[in-house]
């Protein structure tokens, strides 16, 4: 008998392949636990009040915190939202409401493609568009870079969430004689608001974790700055600088910052997950 038709061989092969599949899941998930474990064990001991309230110490001195970088990340992400959210949300509304045509397909396709553009390339573009004309690095340039990064995610999130609103809502509104644009803005959008907000939170959390596009736009700053016209520190760039530095104390602080970043992103993801399950069962 050919081995392929032998019953016990087939069962053996079946078991083997299923075990391989299970094994690959384990191998795939192990890095997640390793990364969580290391950021937790190396980072948490250095997260204290100083970390949040103090400024970086001069080179060679131990201690200090990252107050300026926390504020900087906040400002950069805020600027990113300021430029990115309106464009992304409005484009998303268009796609959900009027996007069933060729133009809509093109926009949808291009936003998907745009989300695949490497973040470092986005940084180069922001450098050309903002840093070169201004003549110096600035928080503004970093904000533009983050906005460019957020637009595709925001657009698609808005669209997806709007499409989840039951059609009965629109039909009911139209049946009452409400104009379409009012139905869209006053009925559909509010109904999807919670979903959109959490989706946006996810996009914002992702932007907060970006490093590459900030390296040569916001640059970094060891001092307190809130001006959008000056280079500004950020949590991610400071992790990079501190990780490369040959000082144990700086390495320690890099882990602390990584822990804060991971904690932030983990919480946002859990919130999103919880919300998504509560409202729509499963996404």
């Amino acid at each position: 008998m050919r081995p392929g038709f032998n019953h016990s061989w087939r069962k053996f092969k079946n078991g083997g392949m299923i075990s391989l599949s299970v094994l690959s899941v384990l191998v795939a998930v192990i890095p997640l636990f390793l990364i969580f474990f290391y950021t937790l064990s190396r980072g948490i001991s250095s997260v204290n009040m100083d970390f949040f309230t103090r400024m970086p110490k001069p080179v060679g001195e131990t201690g200090g915190g990252m107050a300026n970088a926390l504020a900087g990340t906040g400002i950069l992400v805020g600027l990113g939202c300021l430029f990115g959210l309106p464009i992304g949300v409005m484009a998303g509304i268009y796609l959900a409401e009027f996007g069933n045509n060729r133009f809509g397909m093109v926009v949808r396709f291009m936003t998907d493609v745009m989300s695949g553009i490497p973040s470092i390339v986005i940084g180069v573009v922001a450098y050309i568009l903002v840093v070169l004309p201004m003549g110096h690095f600035s928080a503004l340039a970093g904000g533009v870079a983050l906005a460019l990064l957020m637009i595709p995610t925001v657009t698609r999130t808005t669209e997806e969430m709007l499409k989840l609103v039951p059609h009965a809502y629109r039909e009911a509104a139209l049946a009452l004689g409400v104009q379409q644009w009012k139905a869209s803005l006053r009925v559909i959008l509010p109904a999807a608001m919670k979903g959109i907000t959490t989706g946006l939170l996810l996009a914002i959390a992702r932007a907060a974790g970006e490093t590459a596009p900030l390296l040569f736009t916001a640059l970094g700053n060891r001092f307190w700055s809130t001006s959008i016209n000056e280079p500004i520190a950020s949590l991610t760039v400071i992790i990079y600088d501190y990780a490369k530095a040959p000082f144990d104390d700086w390495n320690r602080q890099a882990w602390a910052a990584a822990f804060v970043l991971i904690a932030l992103i983990f919480i946002v993801n859990l919130v999103f997950r919880y919300f998504a399950r509560e409202k729509y069962g499963r996404i």
Partner: protein, 336 residues
């Protein structure tokens, strides 16, 4: 006039009740109300923003092309084939970076592809829902971890481990293969490939899952009904999802090619082409990250912008190709 036409439109919409629009009704589908000024304004304003998204992409391409013009004019095609990168003499050839990007991405794919497929099969074919959900969530979380954290972990945990435990063992046993020869630095192509593999695993997995889900359940049932084992029915399904997996792979490759921080922190940043995967290398994204802020001459900046343009072109092609394939298979975009 506007008032009356608005009312007429609503009435027309009301009369249209006899032929209710299909379930997928959107504002755009109800064309009758187009004449209403409020609706027209709403439509046009949102369309303007949708158009803006396209315009932004066009501006990005144009600005990068303009920025890299000096380097393109000066070096032409030799930019891609020369391995001389010497800012002091203003000579720029990007081959070592292209090589590093290609090799590290291929290592990543070699590791990530079987793992992702195995995970996707497990999630969509084998696991009961109570296992599927938490595992799928964990894989998604892997995608949410910032690149810089991967880099930090790679630098302080993965690289020392490779240097002390993995690379010496491999080179002792498989050192006759040139790929595995050389001093175990830790920092190098292998480290970059492994980090990249972890990072692209979620996207390949999630899109492969979409592909598997899109295959009708009747195929499974038919196979099981004629006495196929679980694996045999899965194999049939895998065969019909082939092109979808190709799309997933290309998307993963696009990610790997453009990944910056994690790679920069573990690849060793040395612009050399060497056969061994243990040796340090450099990638296109890394050289931009490291040198862009310090590029002093105009040609230097221009050369780096050209690398960004090449990177953009490559990822654009990979993405367009992959999305087209995935769209045609699953009927929806694989939102990342």
């Amino acid at each position: 006039m506007t008032e009356s036409s608005g009312r007429r439109a609503v009435v027309a919409g009301g009369r249209g009740e006899t032929s209710l629009p299909p379930a997928g009704v959107t504002a755009g589908a109800l064309r009758r109300n187009r004449t209403n000024p409020g609706d027209r304004a709403f439509r046009n304003i949102t369309r303007l923003f949708a158009f803006l998204v396209l315009a932004i992409i066009a501006v990005m391409v144009w600005e990068m092309y303009r920025g890299s013009r000096p380097a393109i004019d000066e070096f032409g095609l030799s930019f891609l084939t020369s391995s001389e990168w010497d800012p002091v003499r203003d000579l720029y050839g990007a081959l070592p970076f292209i090589y590093g990007t290609v090799v590290s991405s291929l290592i990543a794919l070699a590791i990530a592809l079987p793992l992702s497929l195995g995970t996707a099969i497990f999630l969509s074919e084998l696991a009961p829902p109570w296992i599927e959900r938490p595992v799928a969530f964990m894989v998604e979380l892997l995608a949410a971890i910032p690149s810089i954290v991967y880099g930090l972990w790679g630098m302080f945990v993965l690289v020392p481990w490779l240097r002390s435990s993995v690379e010496p063992v491999i080179s002792r046993n498989l050192g006759f293969i040139p790929l595995f020869r050389g001093a175990p630095y830790g920092f190098g192509m292998l480290a970059a490939g492994i980090i990249l593999a972890i990072m692209i695993l979620p996207i390949i997995t999630s899109i492969s899952r979409d592909v598997l889900r899109a295959i009708p359940g009747t195929q499974r049932e038919a196979a099981l009904a004629i006495g196929a084992t679980r694996w045999e029915s899965t194999r049939i399904i895998l065969a019909s999802g082939k092109s979808g997996f190709l799309g997933a792979t290309l998307l993963g490759l696009g990610r790997a090619v453009g990944e910056t921080m994690a790679v920069t922190m573990v690849i060793g940043n040395r612009p050399e082409i060497s056969v061994s995967v243990f040796d340090p290398g450099y990638s296109m994204a890394s050289v931009i990250a490291n040198e862009f802020a310090e590029a002093t001459t105009k040609m230097y900046t221009s050369a780096l912008v050209e690398i960004a343009l090449v990177l953009f072109g490559v990822t654009l092609m990979l993405n367009v190709l992959a999305r087209l394939i995935v769209w045609s298979v699953t009927g929806k975009a694989g939102a990342a």
